[in-house]
Symmetry: C2
Subunit: 412 residues, 2 copies
């Protein structure tokens, strides 16, 4: 990540005067106007320096939580050979959703849509004994989906950053146990980045009879319909009081439509389904071949950034939680030469103290600078003006609060 | 990056018994056998946990050096629209080299081969005044090239990690000045990662009359032919005593074929060529439109890793420079229960001290463990055995040296 202090005059990606006209979602409108992202084509965005800092912070939170549960970081390829994906029939099944094309030599190539097949192939080549298991591998990487109608800004795009974790275990019991561990780690990661998630049951699809679970953030900006279970018996899993469209309430209780949600994470037990298709076995203590049990766990990095904007914002702009804010302090000088000098020295002081600070040192009106600060949404705004200097102070305001207080410069 | 301490028994990506049969380059053979990378298809590799640690260290060195010269980190998209690349005619020119295909809606899409066009487009949308310049933007991202004959392992692949930096300046003079600054930063970055580079002149190709420069590492594993200039007058640029095939010696001096090299970095002055094609201007102090001058600077991240292996290795394996080694110490226990206990406590001590250590705690023979240590190539090997414990010591050997010394356990 770049230095922890930046002069706004030198930052690439300043605020735009207007909202983009071709976006409807709150996250895309704010992130583009505030200078965090740039649209390349529908569903494909570039990350500007401010956005890159947020993404890095989200990545690091996720990395810490996944390392803490034994995850080992790898990096898979984007380019995928057809042969591998034919082992599970997914080359055919994903037609139209996975980018598939021929390279210059005529070979069929696909772009990483998800990575179960290459992960299994890689582990299959290098692991054969129960002694080498369990293994938990993850990566943080761009995924590609040939989305016909990209929408909701960074929430449903064609290219997006994801953390995907895969667990390789010797039994269903071991898989179930790790599945719960991942669920807890996800909850913690989302909590840390300021996302209040509900643990939601969803249908498993064609690959498993097990239900899958999602981490949903309830917000008007969501795309998924979330139901509250009317009279379900939650004694078996108290946390699941919500299901997604297609999911079943426990004991077939009724479903009451409740709200919309953004799926920021999902966890999925493939069990031995993929292993049987791909001849993916280990030798147990008796030297007998048994299928390896697979779990797959996704967490959207850029989608999380977008969802944070959906839930942490007001009419004036974004309100970043401190843990993922690109900088902690938005320092603003309002006034002439004397104010500028004093602001410069406060900036230097904060730099020396390694505080993450964005210093708006431009010669712009108070209106522009204050509006930009609200739009960008750093946790604290520090204003230096002739008025505050009369009190030997800076004016400190939290983005999330209305109160303003004066803080003595000597105490900084 | 994952934790700084790892038990080898739990690491995914252990050494293989044999070299891969389908690789000829030293870097691919060693990196695959030692468990740093895995081959997906020709020219496409997956990075295993050990390799990921090396890549992260190289990335961080490069990031530090580029941040130090004002670089701001961004993240561009892999998916590229044809329209943009048609502005410079490069969509047509790169046919067969750039992956190009149609998405499900019939639109032409390409995969990021380099990023001048999207970078210019992004800056063009957000910058218009001389006040906003100069700007230096970079990213660390996978690049894609539809290489018909991928070869030399990670040196010439279809998908590889690159740091690409772009400078946007108001004049040729400003560009020339920054060009020299980047050259120094590159030299420093390569020095830090243990690569001795020669600054080499190369032909500029169709986009510029200026010569371009490359950072070449001279090694038998290289693909480029490097010449020494026979009787050139180097007074104008003393550093350039080498040119690449196609490049010219100063004052048309003769060229003596010298060696082969790997191009780990290149720097390139587009000047205003791209800007004129893409209508990429800024307003100067008088409000007049002038073209923005572009510089483009590439540095291969995975190629650097491969080149380090080419030049830092012997018959037994890799010899990582300490700055990029995945761990500093390779701790090995050779012996029974007592030795294991003592080794465990040394490992715990090193963990507490935040030393980066890989602990080979497997029940394998001394031969296997010592050979694996040589192959993996960490800077220091620490062996604990009954013999060393008699001296209350561990046996310490640097991978790059023959000498062995005993170090008292109490002094660790």
């Amino acid at each position: 990540m770049q230095g922890t202090q930046t002069r706004y005059s030198q930052l690439f990606g300043k605020t735009l005067r207007n909202f983009p006209t071709d976006e409807t979602s709150k996250n895309a409108k704010f992130l583009i106007k505030a200078g965090f992202i740039n649209k390349r084509i529908a569903g494909v965005y570039e990350i500007l320096p401010l956005g890159k800092r947020v993404v890095s912070k989200i990545e690091n939170i996720v990395r810490e939580e996944i390392n803490a549960i034994g995850g080992q970081e790898v990096s898979m390829s984007v380019l995928q050979p057809k042969e591998l994906w034919s082992e599970t029939d997914r080359w055919e099944k994903l037609k139209g959703a996975m980018y598939q094309f021929k390279d210059s030599s005529g070979k069929d190539v696909g772009l990483g849509f998800t990575h179960e097949e290459p992960m299994i192939s890689m582990v299959r080549e290098r692991i054969s004994s129960y002694k080498d298991l369990p293994i938990y591998l993850y990566q943080i990487q761009s995924k590609f989906r040939d989305e016909p109608r990209p929408r909701s800004g960074l929430i449903r795009g064609r290219e997006f950053l994801m953390k995907d974790l895969y667990s390789f275990t010797t039994s269903k019991e071991e898989l179930d146990k790790y599945y719960e561990i991942v669920a807890k780690a996800y909850k913690k990661a989302f909590d840390r980045m300021g996302l209040d998630t509900v643990y939601t049951e969803a249908a498993g699809g064609v690959f498993t009879n097990e239900n899958t679970h999602e981490f949903q953030v309830l917000t008007d900006g969501g795309e998924d319909t979330i139901f509250h279970c009317e009279n379900g018996d939650f004694s078996e899993n108290k946390e699941i009081a919500k299901v997604k469209e297609g999911g079943k309430c426990p004991k077939d209780g009724g479903k009451i439509k409740e709200s919309r949600g953004v799926e920021v994470g999902n966890i999925f037990r493939f069990g031995d389904v993929m292993s049987k298709k791909m001849n993916f076995n280990f030798k147990d203590k008796d030297g007998k071949d048994k299928p390896i049990f697979l779990g797959s766990y996704g967490l959207g990095i850029t989608r999380s950034m977008a969802t944070i904007v959906e839930v942490h914002s007001d009419d004036a702009g974004i309100i970043w939680p401190e843990t993922v804010a690109p900088y902690k302090i938005h320092l603003i000088n309002l006034g002439g030469e004397k104010v500028r000098k004093e602001s410069d020295s406060i900036f230097d002081k904060l730099c020396n103290d390694q505080v993450e600070v964005l210093y708006d040192d431009r010669e712009e009106s108070a209106g522009v600078k204050l509006a930009d600060a609200d739009l960008i949404g750093l946790p604290e705004r520090w204003v230096v003006s002739e008025k505050t200097l009369k009190e030997d102070s800076v004016e400190v305001k939290k983005r999330s609060e209305k109160d303003i207080r004066l803080e003595k410069i000597s105490s900084i």
